[in-house]
Assembly symmetry: C2
Homo-oligomer: 229 residues x 2
Amino acid sequence: MEANSRATRDASATGQAGARGRYHHGDLRNALLRAAIDLARDGGPDAVVLRAAARAAGVSATAAYRHFAGQAELLHAVKEYAQERLVDRMEESGREVEGEGVEAVVERVRALGRGYVMFAMEEPGLFRAAFCRETIGSVSLDQEGAARALSRRWESRSFDLLIETLDSLVACGKMAPERRPGAELSAWAMVHGVATLILDGPLADLGPEQVRHVIERALTDVIEGLTAR
Amino acid sequence: MEANSRATRDASATGQAGARGRYHHGDLRNALLRAAIDLARDGGPDAVVLRAAARAAGVSATAAYRHFAGQAELLHAVKEYAQERLVDRMEESGREVEGEGVEAVVERVRALGRGYVMFAMEEPGLFRAAFCRETIGSVSLDQEGAARALSRRWESRSFDLLIETLDSLVACGKMAPERRPGAELSAWAMVHGVATLILDGPLADLGPEQVRHVIERALTDVIEGLTAR
DNA sequence: GACAGATGTTTACGCCGTTAACATGGAGAG
DNA sequence: CTCTCCATGTTAACGGCGTAAACATCTGTC
């Protein structure tokens, strides 16, 4: 597989077909990242092994250090990718709901939540990677700043969808304006809780039908809670 | 530190004070488990390193294999311990609420959820261990059976509290009986979601006051959802 | 065309989990 | 009381991991 992509790149990048012994890879950073993503896809964050990614890219282990500061940074890149995929899945789910009436807006909120949990079930490895802990060790001030920036980006990427939809829930009169602030967090917590309990918690060995039921029930409950009275 | 506990154990177990060169440890399994729990406490499940636990117990790494099939089993024992601690924390929280009126019952539900999230914040390493993934690799049928049994134990230990309290929520007329089945799952999902978002998610860098706010809001929302209409 | 920096390689270190072979010592049988 | 057996410990060794250091090769620039 890696040989494939390598040959392809070789041909397209330089026209020097068959230059398989090429010393310089040409696109190693991306190759490593893709390999790491594949590792995460089946195996979760713990499976993102720098040496394995390098192996898959057909390159020595230490070559990776020319493009990533270390395993932590590679994993971080995978994490960002996984977060993007999660948001994509939510968007896809939300777009399927048309109309602007109260019913439609509520259904759109449900769809977003459903997309969230579906992503967790469809791509458990990536979902786990999206929420794995960042490099345990003492964070330097710069890294701390970066972490905070990431956290904000989290909000602005994943949350924007949710924020808009909840806003329209207020706009169409379904939700009381004074209940609006902080509603994203409850909504997010509910779907995140369902997803993680299904993946690694006590809901792990439920049948697909039961899982569907749990998801829909949780969506109903949180929406009722947010729009109560 | 390990020398300490060892000396203590030596003295208490055999009365043979100062028998430090003892070939047989006497209580190695427990010593290893305690060491592993300490590792998990600050460092989470990834920090449960068999060699480190053996080192802390003052014993060679391979000695651990006389008491645990491998690192996975050691981690599993830590996980069970962490789950017990979580339930203890919830009980402690729930017991603080007295009375049987509607107000008291609702407040008891809140207290259970609060205890759950508090445990996650007070013992993040143990909380993560309590929900870490079980040994990735292909599970044998026997192990699968065990996993299912564990899952049931999860329910019967952690859930019983919640189940009773939700039942009394119905009994006192606050919650509609037809909404009762499945309510545990929504409730659990909400508090679990809050806890994990605070530990490893985008709520990681909130101030303590904001965190308190998020928790209480989530509890309010889920209870309103469960008791709506 | 030579040189410099970017990119990749080999080698090496210490840590990890795990296996295999060996050592010890306590408990029960004769 | 002694001898033997087995539970419980030990050391040695293997392969895999992350990472650092020293070396090699390409490639763009004056």
